[in-house]
Amino acid sequence: METDLNSQDRKDLDKFIKFFALKTVQVIVQARLGEKICTRSSSSPTGSDWFNLAIKDIPEVTHEAKKALSGQLPAVGRSMCVEISLKTSEGDSMELEIWCLEMNEKCDKEIKVSYTVYNRLSLLLKSLLAITRVTPAYRLSRKQGHEYVILYRIYFGEVQLNGLGEGFQTVRVGTVATPVGTITLSCAYRINLAFMSTRQFERTPPIMGIIIDHFVDRPYPSSSPMHPCSYRTGEDAGVTYPSVEDSQEVCTTSFSTSPPSQLSSSRLSCQPAGLGLGSADLAYPVVFTAGLNATHPHQLMVPGKEGGTPLAPNQPAHGAQADQERLATHTPSDGTHCAVTPSSSEDTETVSNSSEGRASPHDVLETIFVRKVGAFVNKPVNQVTLTSLDIPFAMFAPKNLELEDADPMVNPPDSPETTSPLHGSLHSDGSSGGSSGNTHDDFVMIDFKPAFSKDDILPMDLGTFYREFQNPPQLSSLSIDIGAQSMAEDLDSLPEKLAVHEKNVREFDAFVETLQ
């Protein structure tokens, strides 16, 4: 029995280890894509399925793995590591797992390379398939989406477990002894997901334009954090689900396994400005601010049915953001409130953001409320005065009342009254008495029978008392008749009164002295 490996066996072993490393990376990354994996069995050998397992090869993953390996193989002190991390839409990131393919010095010289080692490597890959579904990161990766994405990074060299937090746990997938050393595959995973628990269920919408899908790989493990790679515009805006191969164009080493809605959103962020918004837009019943710049183009989806000119290119914005937009423009149904969807909160933020860099007047950036008459509303909306409106974001309510009157949406055409009391109340000059008289005409006179009273026998009983004191006479001091003078006449009589008082100044002084 030869103690040293013959050249053919050595070549085979190196090949097995190399392809095992590549397949390991494929299994790990595919397990974190967020989808269920399904490959078909084939009774006839295809010749291209390493280790007799149908594991697809994602080209860019293979490319990155080869790049990380740089023609080397895992050896003692040189481990191949796949780091799985999580990145939230707010930019926070956290390492979840480190998968390590290591080699130690313990050799088994007698083991057969082409048979035993190969079969055991196949078994180890099956174990890896099972274990990748069992660590906590799997369930996280299945739920990735708008709030967070899962990223991977491959590096070669020393294993770095610092980013996993305290108390991380390790699971050993398996070992395979070979004549040149023992291959060990293991996973160290974070158990302290406290960071996730506080943020995962926050209902803050992602800030558009900052969602990062793709990252470049760090050339060295200790180098700077991941950063987004250049994103190519000019892609077909109507892309549905980019297959994994398509993302080759835009990702380098570490790529996010995010769903297509985020890809579309970040694509929108590259749209050029040039929307030419001005005060003319105020005439359109847009729900959101008309002064936004192009960094938030998704917010300028104006529904065509309201007669507004589309202010933004008709981008098919996928995802929940666009749905929120559309939802907001088609509500409210009660006629008094408007845009109380989460988009509104985002809207106020963007108002403050966009107002910083713009020279447009402040009122241009204010929200205009669309008053619609909702279904089953008994009271016409025009009876609601401005003061009685309990509307959210009231500070953004238009201050310019003339604008409101000119707005056709404020006075719906289906209102029964032609002249709106809204107008009347706003332009009234002491017509309060008239309005109260009108209210009296609406009453119907009925017999007044006060509670707890007997029949009206005595001249003075409860009912009589009520009637007499129901309309008490006005106070004399408040009576206009006595003082029928206008203010001008009062002013004229003032000098005479002053003269009288000056005559009596000695009496006044004496009075003051008595007080002291």
Partner: protein, 218 residues
């Protein structure tokens, strides 16, 4: 040669029995299945490709990987379904166990039939619990998912000890080692049996199901 025996225990709700059993059995069979052998001349053979697929559980927060073989899945589901029914019909505490036994056939001379020699037995002991509220069921979903994760890790640990495995057979011997009846994959010869225990721990009913091509003559 001694038969290797591994025992796993799980406590599940009634509706989780099937999925929990399938998860364990499929994980074991994933490791104990290979591609179809195609023998060539001169004693060499090539091996087909085994596909894999993820299965999400409906009643447990868990996903397991199984071999892409509908025939194998059907066979397992059939026996696990019978086990579940037997558990339900037994009443009592709901204690049972299901065993997956890998064996080799050893040819004997006539009139003796072939001998089945087990080399690995996986036993899953099941305790069925009854839950009253939906909240308890939700907690149970998660807990059983975590427990199954531990079981999978246990299974993988055993598998990677690389202990005894039957030698790769020649073409004439392949049916003594592998189940060649399936179209797309080739697991080692196996059989699944289960039994329901009563509160005393004794075996009240024993049900045997054989999933092998040949039957015992004696």
């Amino acid at each position: 040669m001694n038969c290797r025996s591994e025992v796993l225990e799980v406590s599940v709700e009634g509706r989780q029995v099937e999925e929990a059993m399938l998860a364990v059995l499929h994980t074991v069979l994933l490791h104990r299945s290979t591609g179809k052998f195609h023998y060539k001349k001169e004693g060499t053979y090539s091996i087909g490709t085994v596909g894999i697929q993820d299965v999400d559980c409906d009643f447990i927060d868990f996903t397991y990987v199984r071999v892409s073989s509908e025939e194998l899945d059907r066979a397992l589901r059939k026996v696990v379904g019978e086990f579940k029914d037997a558990l339900r019909n037994s009443g009592g505490d709901g204690l049972g166990q299901i065993s997956l036994e890998f064996y080799q056939k050893k040819k004997s001379r006539w009139p003796f039939s072939d001998e089945c020699i087990p080399w690995e037995v996986w036993t899953v002991k099941v305790h069925v619990v009854a839950l009253a509220t939906e909240q308890e069921r939700q907690i149970c979903r998660e807990k059983v998912g975590e427990k199954l994760c531990e079981k999978i890790i246990n299974i993988v640990e055993v598998m990677n000890r690389h202990e005894y495995l039957p030698k790769m057979p020649t073409q004439s011997e392949v049916d003594n080692v592998f189940d060649t009846s399936l179209r797309d994959v080739q697991p080692y010869l196996y059989k699944i049996s289960f039994q329901i225990t009563d509160a005393l721990g004794t075996s009240v009913t024993t049900t045997m199901r054989r999933l092998i091509k040949d039957t015992l003559a004696l």
